[in-house]
Protein backbone atom coordinates (compact mmCIF):
# COMPACT_ATOMS: atom_id res chain seq x y z
CA UNK A 1 0.00 0.00 0.00
CA UNK A 2 1.29 3.51 -0.83
CA UNK A 3 2.46 5.58 2.14
CA UNK A 4 -0.23 8.21 1.51
CA UNK A 5 -2.94 5.51 1.73
CA UNK A 6 -1.51 4.16 4.98
CA UNK A 7 -1.37 7.70 6.38
CA UNK A 8 -4.96 8.30 5.24
CA UNK A 9 -5.96 5.05 7.00
CA UNK A 10 -4.28 6.20 10.21
CA UNK A 11 -5.90 9.66 10.18
CA UNK A 12 -9.21 8.12 8.99
CA UNK A 13 -9.22 5.67 11.88
CA UNK A 14 -8.57 8.49 14.34
CA UNK A 15 -11.40 10.54 12.79
CA UNK A 16 -13.70 7.49 13.01
CA UNK A 17 -12.82 6.95 16.68
CA UNK A 18 -13.48 10.62 17.41
CA UNK A 19 -16.77 10.43 15.57
CA UNK A 20 -17.88 7.43 17.62
CA UNK A 21 -16.60 8.86 20.92
CA UNK A 22 -17.66 12.48 20.54
CA UNK A 23 -20.46 12.39 18.01
CA UNK A 24 -18.83 14.37 15.21
CA UNK A 25 -15.37 14.18 13.63
CA UNK A 26 -13.05 17.02 14.66
CA UNK A 27 -10.27 16.02 12.32
CA UNK A 28 -10.52 17.13 8.72
CA UNK A 29 -9.12 14.52 6.40
CA UNK A 30 -8.02 16.12 3.17
CA UNK A 31 -4.96 15.82 0.98
CA UNK A 32 -3.96 19.30 2.11
CA UNK A 33 -3.50 18.04 5.65
CA UNK A 34 0.20 18.46 6.44
CA UNK A 35 2.13 15.22 6.04
CA UNK A 36 -0.78 13.47 4.32
CA UNK A 37 1.47 12.71 1.39
CA UNK A 38 3.97 10.12 0.26
CA UNK A 39 6.83 11.72 2.24
CA UNK A 40 8.79 9.31 4.42
CA UNK A 41 9.44 11.83 7.20
CA UNK A 42 8.30 9.85 10.25
CA UNK A 43 9.06 12.62 12.80
CA UNK A 44 7.01 15.16 10.81
CA UNK A 45 4.15 12.71 10.43
CA UNK A 46 4.08 11.82 14.13
CA UNK A 47 4.35 15.45 15.17
CA UNK A 48 1.37 16.36 12.95
CA UNK A 49 -0.59 13.40 14.25
CA UNK A 50 0.13 14.37 17.86
CA UNK A 51 -0.98 17.94 17.17
CA UNK A 52 -4.43 16.69 16.26
CA UNK A 53 -4.46 13.88 18.83
CA UNK A 54 -3.37 15.55 22.04
CA UNK A 55 -3.31 19.33 21.43
CA UNK A 56 -1.01 22.08 22.67
CA UNK A 57 -0.59 21.35 26.38
CA UNK A 58 0.14 17.64 26.12
CA UNK A 59 2.37 18.15 23.08
CA UNK A 60 4.26 20.80 25.04
CA UNK A 61 4.57 18.41 27.99
CA UNK A 62 5.98 15.75 25.65
CA UNK A 63 8.54 18.25 24.40
CA UNK A 64 9.37 19.36 27.96
CA UNK A 65 9.89 15.74 28.97
CA UNK A 66 12.06 15.10 25.89
CA UNK A 67 14.24 18.15 26.55
CA UNK A 68 14.60 17.43 30.26
CA UNK A 69 14.37 13.73 31.12
CA UNK A 70 15.05 12.16 27.72
CA UNK A 71 18.15 14.12 26.72
CA UNK A 72 20.40 11.80 28.72
CA UNK A 73 18.85 8.71 27.11
CA UNK A 74 19.22 10.22 23.66
CA UNK A 75 22.86 11.05 24.42
CA UNK A 76 23.52 7.52 25.72
CA UNK A 77 22.02 5.88 22.61
CA UNK A 78 23.82 8.18 20.22
CA UNK A 79 27.15 7.75 21.98
CA UNK A 80 26.67 3.98 21.72
CA UNK A 81 25.97 4.33 17.99
CA UNK A 82 28.94 6.69 17.59
CA UNK A 83 31.29 4.24 19.30
CA UNK A 84 30.06 1.35 17.18
CA UNK A 85 30.33 3.35 13.98
CA UNK A 86 33.85 4.52 14.84
CA UNK A 87 34.80 0.93 15.64
CA UNK A 88 33.36 -0.20 12.34
CA UNK A 89 35.16 2.74 10.67
CA UNK A 90 38.48 1.69 12.19
CA UNK A 91 37.94 -1.95 11.23
CA UNK A 92 37.97 -0.84 7.60
CA UNK A 93 41.68 -0.21 8.10
CA UNK A 94 44.19 -3.03 8.38
CA UNK A 95 45.85 -1.96 11.61
CA UNK A 96 43.62 -0.97 14.56
CA UNK A 97 46.52 0.50 16.56
CA UNK A 98 47.15 4.22 16.82
CA UNK A 99 49.25 5.18 13.77
CA UNK A 100 52.69 6.69 14.42
CA UNK A 101 51.78 10.07 12.99
CA UNK A 102 48.95 10.44 15.53
CA UNK A 103 51.16 9.51 18.50
CA UNK A 104 52.66 12.24 20.69
CA UNK A 105 56.03 11.71 18.97
CA UNK A 106 54.51 12.03 15.48
CA UNK A 107 53.55 15.03 13.39
CA UNK A 108 49.88 14.74 14.47
CA UNK A 109 46.74 15.30 12.45
CA UNK A 110 46.88 18.82 11.06
CA UNK A 111 43.45 20.23 10.21
CA UNK A 112 42.46 23.69 9.10
CA UNK A 113 40.24 25.29 11.74
CA UNK A 114 37.55 25.84 9.08
CA UNK A 115 37.47 22.09 8.46
CA UNK A 116 36.90 21.30 12.11
CA UNK A 117 34.47 24.17 12.62
CA UNK A 118 31.85 23.16 10.07
CA UNK A 119 29.06 25.05 11.85
CA UNK A 120 31.08 28.25 12.37
CA UNK A 121 30.67 28.13 16.15
CA UNK A 122 34.35 28.97 16.82
CA UNK A 123 33.83 32.40 15.27
CA UNK A 124 31.85 33.38 18.39
CA UNK A 125 33.42 34.08 21.78
CA UNK A 126 31.92 31.67 24.38
CA UNK A 127 31.68 34.49 26.94
CA UNK A 128 29.73 36.81 24.63
CA UNK A 129 25.92 37.02 24.87
CA UNK A 130 25.45 34.81 21.81
CA UNK A 131 28.34 32.57 22.88
CA UNK A 132 26.51 31.65 26.05
CA UNK A 133 23.73 30.25 23.89
CA UNK A 134 26.13 28.20 21.79
CA UNK A 135 28.66 26.85 24.30
CA UNK A 136 28.31 25.20 27.69
CA UNK A 137 30.60 25.89 30.63
CA UNK A 138 31.65 29.00 28.70
CA UNK A 139 33.48 30.78 31.51
CA UNK A 140 35.89 27.94 32.38
CA UNK A 141 38.18 28.58 29.42
CA UNK A 142 40.78 25.84 28.94
CA UNK A 143 39.36 23.96 31.94
CA UNK A 144 35.90 23.83 30.40
CA UNK A 145 33.98 20.56 30.32
CA UNK A 146 32.73 21.57 26.85
CA UNK A 147 35.24 20.61 24.17
CA UNK A 148 33.96 23.41 21.89
CA UNK A 149 34.80 25.98 24.60
CA UNK A 150 38.17 24.27 25.14
CA UNK A 151 39.05 24.40 21.41
CA UNK A 152 38.01 28.06 21.18
CA UNK A 153 40.43 28.87 23.99
CA UNK A 154 43.20 26.77 22.41
CA UNK A 155 42.83 28.92 19.30
CA UNK A 156 43.34 32.07 21.40
CA UNK A 157 46.79 30.77 22.45
CA UNK A 158 48.75 30.53 19.21
CA UNK A 159 51.58 27.95 19.32
CA UNK A 160 50.69 26.44 22.71
CA UNK A 161 49.74 22.82 23.27
CA UNK A 162 46.87 21.88 25.62
CA UNK A 163 45.52 18.47 26.64
CA UNK A 164 41.91 17.36 26.62
CA UNK A 165 41.39 14.75 29.33
CA UNK A 166 39.41 11.53 29.49
CA UNK A 167 36.79 10.83 32.18
CA UNK A 168 39.46 9.47 34.56
CA UNK A 169 41.56 12.61 34.29
CA UNK A 170 44.23 11.12 32.00
CA UNK A 171 45.46 13.26 29.15
CA UNK A 172 43.72 12.07 25.99
CA UNK A 173 44.48 14.33 23.04
CA UNK A 174 46.66 17.38 22.64
CA UNK A 175 45.42 20.36 20.64
CA UNK A 176 47.73 23.07 19.32
CA UNK A 177 46.69 26.05 17.24
CA UNK A 178 49.16 27.58 14.76
CA UNK A 179 48.28 30.64 12.75
CA UNK A 180 51.24 29.71 10.53
CA UNK A 181 52.98 26.39 10.28
CA UNK A 182 55.67 25.40 7.79
CA UNK A 183 54.24 23.45 4.84
CA UNK A 184 50.66 23.87 6.07
CA UNK A 185 47.87 26.34 5.32
CA UNK A 186 47.28 29.15 7.83
CA UNK A 187 45.17 28.64 10.95
CA UNK A 188 45.52 24.95 11.67
CA UNK A 189 44.94 22.72 14.66
CA UNK A 190 47.43 19.95 15.30
CA UNK A 191 45.89 17.05 17.21
CA UNK A 192 47.95 14.22 18.71
CA UNK A 193 47.29 11.34 21.07
CA UNK A 194 48.66 11.96 24.56
CA UNK A 195 51.71 9.95 25.71
CA UNK A 196 49.32 7.95 27.92
CA UNK A 197 47.21 6.87 24.93
CA UNK A 198 50.12 6.63 22.48
CA UNK A 199 51.52 3.67 24.40
CA UNK A 200 49.65 0.36 24.50
CA UNK A 201 46.23 1.75 23.50
CA UNK A 202 44.36 1.07 20.29
CA UNK A 203 42.59 3.59 18.15
CA UNK A 204 39.27 2.11 19.35
CA UNK A 205 40.33 2.69 22.99
CA UNK A 206 41.12 6.30 22.12
CA UNK A 207 37.82 6.72 20.24
CA UNK A 208 35.75 5.24 23.08
CA UNK A 209 37.53 7.32 25.73
CA UNK A 210 37.00 10.42 23.60
CA UNK A 211 33.27 9.76 23.12
CA UNK A 212 32.89 9.21 26.89
CA UNK A 213 34.77 12.44 27.62
CA UNK A 214 32.42 14.78 25.78
CA UNK A 215 28.92 15.97 26.56
CA UNK A 216 26.86 15.97 23.40
CA UNK A 217 23.52 17.47 24.34
CA UNK A 218 22.18 19.91 26.78
CA UNK A 219 18.52 20.89 27.33
CA UNK A 220 18.82 24.65 27.05
CA UNK A 221 21.26 24.55 24.13
CA UNK A 222 19.03 22.20 22.15
CA UNK A 223 16.07 24.56 22.68
CA UNK A 224 17.91 27.80 21.94
CA UNK A 225 19.71 26.43 18.88
CA UNK A 226 16.46 25.05 17.46
CA UNK A 227 14.95 28.51 17.91
CA UNK A 228 17.88 29.83 15.90
CA UNK A 229 17.09 27.33 13.13
CA UNK A 230 13.45 28.49 13.06
CA UNK A 231 13.71 32.22 13.79
CA UNK A 232 17.40 33.03 13.26
CA UNK A 233 17.58 34.45 16.80
CA UNK A 234 21.31 33.80 17.35
CA UNK A 235 22.30 34.17 13.68
CA UNK A 236 21.16 37.79 13.69
CA UNK A 237 23.12 38.53 16.85
CA UNK A 238 26.38 37.12 15.47
CA UNK A 239 25.69 38.52 12.02
CA UNK A 240 25.89 35.27 10.06
CA UNK A 241 26.11 35.82 6.33
CA UNK A 242 23.24 34.83 4.05
CA UNK A 243 25.64 32.42 2.31
CA UNK A 244 26.42 30.66 5.61
CA UNK A 245 22.69 30.45 6.41
CA UNK A 246 21.94 29.04 2.94
CA UNK A 247 24.59 26.39 3.54
CA UNK A 248 22.95 25.54 6.88
CA UNK A 249 19.56 25.21 5.18
CA UNK A 250 21.13 22.91 2.59
CA UNK A 251 22.61 20.77 5.39
CA UNK A 252 19.15 20.70 7.02
CA UNK A 253 17.55 19.42 3.80
CA UNK A 254 20.26 16.75 3.41
CA UNK A 255 19.72 15.64 7.01
CA UNK A 256 15.94 15.53 6.42
CA UNK A 257 16.44 13.42 3.31
CA UNK A 258 18.75 10.98 5.08
CA UNK A 259 16.43 10.89 8.09
CA UNK A 260 13.56 9.90 5.78
CA UNK A 261 15.54 7.12 4.14
CA UNK A 262 15.00 3.44 4.76
CA UNK A 263 17.69 1.35 6.41
CA UNK A 264 18.70 -0.28 3.15
CA UNK A 265 18.63 2.86 1.01
CA UNK A 266 21.99 3.83 -0.42
CA UNK A 267 22.86 7.47 0.20
CA UNK A 268 23.92 8.44 -3.31
CA UNK A 269 24.68 11.79 -4.94
CA UNK A 270 20.96 12.54 -5.34
CA UNK A 271 20.80 13.25 -1.60
CA UNK A 272 23.15 16.18 -2.12
CA UNK A 273 21.64 17.67 -5.28
CA UNK A 274 18.76 20.14 -5.35
CA UNK A 275 16.55 21.43 -8.13
CA UNK A 276 15.73 25.11 -8.66
CA UNK A 277 12.55 25.25 -6.51
CA UNK A 278 14.39 23.53 -3.65
CA UNK A 279 17.30 25.96 -3.92
CA UNK A 280 14.86 28.90 -3.97
CA UNK A 281 13.20 27.56 -0.83
CA UNK A 282 16.56 27.26 0.92
CA UNK A 283 17.35 30.86 -0.08
CA UNK A 284 13.96 32.04 1.19
CA UNK A 285 14.46 30.31 4.55
CA UNK A 286 18.02 31.68 4.84
CA UNK A 287 16.76 35.19 4.07
CA UNK A 288 14.03 34.88 6.71
CA UNK A 289 16.57 33.75 9.31
CA UNK A 290 18.86 36.60 8.31
CA UNK A 291 15.91 38.93 8.97
CA UNK A 292 14.99 37.09 12.17
CA UNK A 293 11.52 36.11 11.04
CA UNK A 294 9.41 33.09 10.25
CA UNK A 295 6.63 33.31 7.68
CA UNK A 296 3.40 31.79 8.97
CA UNK A 297 2.05 30.29 5.75
CA UNK A 298 -1.23 29.22 7.39
CA UNK A 299 -1.90 32.73 8.71
CA UNK A 300 -1.73 34.91 5.57
CA UNK A 301 2.10 34.85 5.65
CA UNK A 302 2.19 36.98 8.80
CA UNK A 303 5.76 37.37 10.09
CA UNK A 304 6.54 35.85 13.45
CA UNK A 305 9.67 36.55 15.47
CA UNK A 306 11.30 36.01 18.84
CA UNK A 307 13.50 38.42 20.70
CA UNK A 308 17.13 37.48 21.44
CA UNK A 309 16.74 38.55 25.08
CA UNK A 310 13.75 36.22 25.54
CA UNK A 311 15.84 33.29 24.29
CA UNK A 312 18.76 34.30 26.50
CA UNK A 313 16.44 34.58 29.47
CA UNK A 314 15.08 31.06 28.75
CA UNK A 315 18.65 29.75 28.43
CA UNK A 316 19.68 31.27 31.77
CA UNK A 317 16.60 30.06 33.63
CA UNK A 318 16.94 26.47 32.40
CA UNK A 319 20.70 26.48 32.98
CA UNK A 320 20.33 27.70 36.55
CA UNK A 321 17.67 25.15 37.53
CA UNK A 322 19.01 23.14 40.44
CA UNK A 323 17.08 19.91 39.94
CA UNK A 324 15.02 18.04 37.35
CA UNK A 325 11.64 19.27 38.63
CA UNK A 326 12.82 22.88 38.51
CA UNK A 327 14.33 22.31 35.08
CA UNK A 328 11.02 20.93 33.76
CA UNK A 329 9.15 23.92 35.15
CA UNK A 330 11.61 26.36 33.58
CA UNK A 331 11.48 24.61 30.19
CA UNK A 332 7.67 24.62 30.34
CA UNK A 333 7.52 28.30 31.28
CA UNK A 334 10.05 29.17 28.60
CA UNK A 335 8.10 27.32 25.90
CA UNK A 336 4.87 29.01 27.03
CA UNK A 337 6.45 32.47 26.96
CA UNK A 338 8.26 31.95 23.66
CA UNK A 339 5.24 30.42 21.92
CA UNK A 340 3.13 33.37 23.11
CA UNK A 341 5.75 35.74 21.75
CA UNK A 342 5.79 33.91 18.40
CA UNK A 343 2.01 34.40 18.14
CA UNK A 344 2.02 38.12 18.99
CA UNK A 345 1.42 39.32 15.42
CA UNK A 346 -1.49 37.05 14.59
CA UNK A 347 -5.21 37.46 15.19
CA UNK A 348 -6.76 35.98 18.31
CA UNK A 349 -8.40 33.12 16.38
CA UNK A 350 -5.04 32.00 14.91
CA UNK A 351 -3.05 32.19 18.16
CA UNK A 352 -3.70 28.59 19.19
CA UNK A 353 -2.61 27.27 15.76
CA UNK A 354 0.56 29.37 15.81
CA UNK A 355 1.45 28.25 19.35
CA UNK A 356 0.81 24.65 18.38
CA UNK A 357 2.98 25.05 15.27
CA UNK A 358 5.73 26.55 17.46
CA UNK A 359 5.95 23.24 19.38
CA UNK A 360 5.71 21.32 16.09
CA UNK A 361 8.63 23.33 14.67
CA UNK A 362 10.79 22.55 17.69
CA UNK A 363 10.01 18.82 17.47
CA UNK A 364 10.63 18.73 13.72
CA UNK A 365 13.98 20.49 14.13
CA UNK A 366 15.19 18.28 17.00
CA UNK A 367 16.84 15.81 14.65
CA UNK A 368 18.54 18.57 12.63
CA UNK A 369 19.89 20.14 15.80
CA UNK A 370 21.20 16.81 17.05
CA UNK A 371 23.01 16.37 13.73
CA UNK A 372 24.30 19.92 14.04
CA UNK A 373 26.03 18.79 17.23
CA UNK A 374 27.69 16.01 15.19
CA UNK A 375 29.00 18.74 12.88
CA UNK A 376 30.38 20.87 15.72
CA UNK A 377 34.13 20.75 16.53
CA UNK A 378 33.65 18.45 19.55
CA UNK A 379 32.47 15.58 17.33
CA UNK A 380 34.11 16.53 14.03
CA UNK A 381 37.55 16.47 15.69
CA UNK A 382 37.32 12.73 16.40
CA UNK A 383 35.62 11.97 13.08
CA UNK A 384 38.30 13.97 11.25
CA UNK A 385 41.09 12.11 13.08
CA UNK A 386 39.60 8.75 12.04
CA UNK A 387 39.00 10.04 8.52
CA UNK A 388 42.67 10.99 8.21
CA UNK A 389 43.77 7.64 9.65
CA UNK A 390 41.65 5.61 7.23
CA UNK A 391 41.72 7.70 4.07
CA UNK A 392 45.19 9.17 4.44
CA UNK A 393 46.83 12.04 6.22
CA UNK A 394 46.81 14.25 3.12
CA UNK A 395 43.09 13.77 2.49
CA UNK A 396 40.70 16.61 3.06
CA UNK A 397 37.10 17.75 2.60
CA UNK A 398 35.50 21.02 1.66
CA UNK A 399 32.90 22.21 4.16
CA UNK A 400 30.05 20.43 5.94
CA UNK A 401 28.26 19.09 2.87
CA UNK A 402 31.42 17.48 1.49
CA UNK A 403 32.17 16.16 4.99
CA UNK A 404 28.72 14.47 5.16
CA UNK A 405 29.17 13.18 1.61
CA UNK A 406 32.54 11.63 2.34
CA UNK A 407 31.35 10.10 5.64
CA UNK A 408 27.83 9.40 4.44
CA UNK A 409 27.40 5.90 5.86
CA UNK A 410 28.68 6.93 9.30
CA UNK A 411 26.59 10.12 9.31
CA UNK A 412 23.55 8.19 8.06
CA UNK A 413 23.79 5.72 10.95
CA UNK A 414 24.07 8.59 13.45
CA UNK A 415 21.14 10.44 11.89
CA UNK A 416 18.97 7.31 11.89
CA UNK A 417 19.98 6.55 15.46
CA UNK A 418 18.84 10.03 16.55
CA UNK A 419 15.68 9.74 14.42
CA UNK A 420 14.79 6.37 15.99
CA UNK A 421 15.13 7.78 19.49
CA UNK A 422 12.89 10.76 18.71
CA UNK A 423 10.36 8.52 16.93
CA UNK A 424 10.35 6.19 19.95
CA UNK A 425 9.37 9.11 22.22
CA UNK A 426 6.71 10.50 19.86
CA UNK A 427 5.32 7.09 18.99
CA UNK A 428 4.93 6.22 22.64
CA UNK A 429 2.85 9.40 23.17
CA UNK A 430 0.81 8.71 20.03
CA UNK A 431 0.11 5.14 21.14
CA UNK A 432 -0.99 6.34 24.59
CA UNK A 433 -3.48 8.73 22.99
CA UNK A 434 -4.61 6.14 20.44
CA UNK A 435 -5.16 3.44 23.06
CA UNK A 436 -7.30 5.86 25.06
CA UNK A 437 -9.35 6.69 21.92
CA UNK A 438 -9.68 3.04 20.93
CA UNK A 439 -10.70 1.87 24.41
CA UNK A 440 -13.36 4.60 24.51
CA UNK A 441 -14.55 3.45 21.09
CA UNK A 442 -14.68 -0.21 22.14
CA UNK A 443 -16.57 0.73 25.29
CA UNK A 444 -19.12 2.74 23.24
CA UNK A 445 -19.57 -0.08 20.75
CA UNK A 446 -20.01 -2.70 23.49
CA UNK A 447 -22.61 -0.50 25.20
CA UNK A 448 -24.44 -0.14 21.89
CA UNK A 449 -24.37 -3.91 21.29
CA UNK A 450 -25.80 -4.55 24.76
CA UNK A 451 -28.50 -1.90 24.22
CA UNK A 452 -29.37 -3.45 20.87
CA UNK A 453 -29.67 -6.86 22.46
CA UNK A 454 -31.88 -5.43 25.19
CA UNK A 455 -34.08 -3.75 22.54
CA UNK A 456 -34.36 -7.00 20.63
CA UNK A 457 -35.32 -8.94 23.75
CA UNK A 458 -37.95 -6.33 24.61
CA UNK A 459 -39.33 -6.39 21.07
CA UNK A 460 -39.59 -10.18 21.24
CA UNK A 461 -41.76 -10.01 24.37
CA UNK A 462 -44.07 -7.55 22.65
CA UNK A 463 -42.95 -4.19 24.12
CA UNK A 464 -43.97 -1.45 21.63
CA UNK A 465 -41.17 0.32 19.76
CA UNK A 466 -42.03 3.72 21.22
CA UNK A 467 -41.47 2.38 24.73
CA UNK A 468 -38.23 0.66 23.70
CA UNK A 469 -37.03 3.99 22.33
CA UNK A 470 -37.90 5.75 25.56
CA UNK A 471 -36.04 3.10 27.56
CA UNK A 472 -33.00 3.44 25.27
CA UNK A 473 -33.04 7.23 25.60
CA UNK A 474 -33.07 6.89 29.37
CA UNK A 475 -30.14 4.45 29.49
Amino acid sequence: MAIIDEKRDAFGNIAACRSINEGFPELQLTDSFPNLDNAKDSIGFLSSMLKSLIGFEKLRDTLVDTLSSQVENIEEDIKKALKLELKSFVNCGVNPSIPDFLKDTGSGVVIEVDNIDLTGILKTDPTSDAGELLYTDASSGLNSSDLNTFIFNVIQNDGNKYFWQDQSGNNLLSFEFNSTLAGQPNNTLTIKASPYYSNNKTLTDLNNAFVDSINLFNSEKLLTNILDKVFGVISININKSEKQLEREEKVKDIVDRISSSDEDDVVDDNYFEFDTPELSDQQRRAKNRKNGIQELVNCDNVESSINFDSVKDANDRIKNASNLVEKKTEIQNSINNLSNESAENVSEKDKYTVELNFIDDIIQNLNTEIVNVFLSPKVVSILAINYKVIVGIASSYDGPIDFIKQNKQLIKELILSARDKIVEILLSEALKAISSLVSQKVSKIQTEVLNNQKSQLLSLVGVPQSIIRTINDLS
Binding site: I3, E6, K7, D9, A10, N13, C17, A39, K40, D41, S42, F45, L46, M49, I78, A81, L84, E85, S88, N91, C92, S260, D262, E263, Y387, V391, G392, A394, S396, D398, D402, K405, N407, Q409, L410, E413, I415, L416, S417, A418, R419, D420, I422, V423, E424, L427, A430, L431, I434, S435, V438, Q446, V449, Q453, Q456, L457, S459, L460, V461, G462
Partner: protein
Protein backbone atom coordinates in the same frame (compact mmCIF):
# COMPACT_ATOMS: atom_id res chain seq x y z
CA UNK B 1 39.43 17.91 -1.80
CA UNK B 2 39.88 14.18 -1.83
CA UNK B 3 37.85 11.99 -4.11
CA UNK B 4 37.73 9.22 -1.54
CA UNK B 5 34.45 8.21 0.01
CA UNK B 6 34.23 6.13 3.13
CA UNK B 7 31.55 3.57 3.83
CA UNK B 8 31.28 1.68 7.05
CA UNK B 9 29.61 -1.68 7.37
CA UNK B 10 26.08 -1.72 8.71
CA UNK B 11 26.22 -2.03 12.44
CA UNK B 12 22.55 -2.66 13.08
CA UNK B 13 22.46 0.25 15.50
CA UNK B 14 20.31 3.23 14.65
CA UNK B 15 18.25 2.52 11.63
CA UNK B 16 19.41 -1.04 11.31
CA UNK B 17 17.05 -3.91 10.74
CA UNK B 18 14.10 -3.78 13.08
CA UNK B 19 14.38 0.00 13.46
CA UNK B 20 11.12 1.62 14.51
CA UNK B 21 12.03 4.96 12.96
CA UNK B 22 11.07 4.47 9.34
CA UNK B 23 7.66 5.63 8.19
CA UNK B 24 6.42 2.18 7.11
CA UNK B 25 7.12 0.73 10.54
CA UNK B 26 5.54 3.74 12.29
CA UNK B 27 2.39 3.45 10.16
CA UNK B 28 2.24 -0.31 10.69
CA UNK B 29 2.39 0.15 14.48
CA UNK B 30 -0.20 2.94 14.51
CA UNK B 31 -2.64 1.17 12.20
CA UNK B 32 -2.30 -2.07 14.20
CA UNK B 33 -3.03 -0.20 17.45
CA UNK B 34 -6.35 0.94 15.94
CA UNK B 35 -7.52 -2.59 15.32
CA UNK B 36 -8.92 -4.34 18.38
CA UNK B 37 -10.97 -7.49 17.63
CA UNK B 38 -14.46 -7.44 19.13
CA UNK B 39 -16.06 -10.24 21.07
CA UNK B 40 -18.91 -12.15 19.36
CA UNK B 41 -22.35 -11.15 20.59
CA UNK B 42 -24.34 -13.39 22.93
CA UNK B 43 -27.06 -15.42 21.10
CA UNK B 44 -30.68 -14.57 21.89
CA UNK B 45 -32.67 -17.29 23.72
CA UNK B 46 -34.29 -19.52 20.98
CA UNK B 47 -37.72 -19.91 22.76
CA UNK B 48 -37.99 -16.15 22.94
CA UNK B 49 -37.25 -15.79 19.22
CA UNK B 50 -39.81 -18.52 18.45
CA UNK B 51 -42.58 -16.83 20.36
CA UNK B 52 -41.51 -13.21 20.00
CA UNK B 53 -40.97 -13.21 16.24
CA UNK B 54 -44.70 -13.69 15.75
CA UNK B 55 -45.33 -10.37 17.51
CA UNK B 56 -43.18 -8.29 15.16
CA UNK B 57 -45.08 -5.96 12.84
CA UNK B 58 -42.61 -6.05 9.89
CA UNK B 59 -40.63 -3.12 8.49
CA UNK B 60 -42.17 -0.06 6.88
CA UNK B 61 -40.26 2.45 4.75
CA UNK B 62 -42.74 5.19 5.68
CA UNK B 63 -42.24 4.59 9.39
CA UNK B 64 -38.44 4.62 9.02
CA UNK B 65 -38.54 7.80 6.93
CA UNK B 66 -40.81 9.42 9.49
CA UNK B 67 -38.46 8.52 12.33
CA UNK B 68 -35.41 9.89 10.45
CA UNK B 69 -37.16 13.14 9.54
CA UNK B 70 -38.39 13.64 13.08
CA UNK B 71 -34.79 13.31 14.35
CA UNK B 72 -33.23 15.56 11.66
CA UNK B 73 -33.10 18.47 14.08
CA UNK B 74 -30.64 16.50 16.28
CA UNK B 75 -28.05 16.97 13.52
CA UNK B 76 -29.08 20.59 12.92
CA UNK B 77 -30.93 19.88 9.64
CA UNK B 78 -34.18 21.83 9.01
CA UNK B 79 -37.43 19.89 9.23
CA UNK B 80 -40.38 20.53 6.90
CA UNK B 81 -40.69 23.58 4.63
CA UNK B 82 -37.27 25.03 5.34
CA UNK B 83 -37.51 27.83 2.76
CA UNK B 84 -41.11 28.85 3.65
CA UNK B 85 -42.08 28.94 -0.03
CA UNK B 86 -44.41 25.92 0.03
CA UNK B 87 -41.92 23.84 -1.91
CA UNK B 88 -41.01 20.31 -0.88
CA UNK B 89 -37.95 19.87 1.34
CA UNK B 90 -35.57 18.16 -1.08
CA UNK B 91 -33.45 16.47 1.57
CA UNK B 92 -36.59 14.93 3.13
CA UNK B 93 -37.76 13.71 -0.29
CA UNK B 94 -34.35 12.18 -0.85
CA UNK B 95 -34.58 10.52 2.56
CA UNK B 96 -37.92 8.96 1.61
CA UNK B 97 -36.57 7.71 -1.74
CA UNK B 98 -33.41 6.35 -0.11
CA UNK B 99 -35.30 4.46 2.61
CA UNK B 100 -37.96 3.17 0.18
CA UNK B 101 -35.29 1.78 -2.12
CA UNK B 102 -33.34 0.16 0.71
CA UNK B 103 -36.47 -1.35 2.30
CA UNK B 104 -37.73 -2.51 -1.09
CA UNK B 105 -34.42 -4.26 -1.79
CA UNK B 106 -34.39 -5.85 1.65
CA UNK B 107 -37.99 -7.08 1.32
CA UNK B 108 -37.85 -8.31 -2.24
CA UNK B 109 -34.27 -9.35 -2.75
CA UNK B 110 -32.68 -10.18 0.61
CA UNK B 111 -32.51 -13.78 1.66
CA UNK B 112 -31.76 -15.30 5.04
CA UNK B 113 -29.89 -18.58 5.24
CA UNK B 114 -30.38 -20.43 8.51
CA UNK B 115 -27.98 -23.10 9.67
CA UNK B 116 -28.81 -25.34 12.63
CA UNK B 117 -25.59 -26.86 13.93
CA UNK B 118 -25.28 -30.60 14.62
CA UNK B 119 -25.53 -31.72 18.25
CA UNK B 120 -28.95 -30.18 18.96
CA UNK B 121 -30.59 -32.21 21.76
CA UNK B 122 -33.77 -33.94 20.53
CA UNK B 123 -36.37 -36.04 22.21
CA UNK B 124 -38.56 -38.35 20.06
CA UNK B 125 -41.59 -40.54 20.73
CA UNK B 126 -42.22 -43.75 18.76
CA UNK B 127 -44.32 -46.96 19.15
CA UNK B 128 -42.68 -50.07 20.53
CA UNK B 129 -43.24 -53.75 19.67
CA UNK B 130 -46.30 -54.04 21.97
CA UNK B 131 -47.83 -50.74 20.87
CA UNK B 132 -46.54 -48.92 23.88
CA UNK B 133 -44.93 -45.48 23.34
CA UNK B 134 -41.16 -45.45 23.37
CA UNK B 135 -39.34 -42.25 24.14
CA UNK B 136 -35.83 -41.83 22.89
CA UNK B 137 -33.36 -39.02 23.43
CA UNK B 138 -30.35 -38.06 21.32
CA UNK B 139 -28.74 -35.31 19.33
CA UNK B 140 -28.81 -34.30 15.67
CA UNK B 141 -25.77 -35.45 13.76
CA UNK B 142 -25.94 -33.24 10.65
CA UNK B 143 -26.27 -29.56 9.99
CA UNK B 144 -29.76 -28.43 9.04
CA UNK B 145 -30.10 -25.69 6.46
CA UNK B 146 -33.15 -23.51 5.93
CA UNK B 147 -34.19 -20.46 3.89
CA UNK B 148 -35.88 -17.35 5.16
CA UNK B 149 -36.95 -13.90 4.02
CA UNK B 150 -37.02 -10.58 5.83
CA UNK B 151 -40.41 -8.96 6.34
Amino acid sequence: MSSHSISTKKSGVGGGNGSIGNISKVLEIINSAMKIPRQPSTPLPPPLIMSGAKLRPGISSKEITGNIISRQSEAGAPVGDATFDSTENISESMERIRVEEIVNAVLTQAKVDVVIPPGVQVSTVGIGNYGAPVISQGATTNMAIGDGIIR
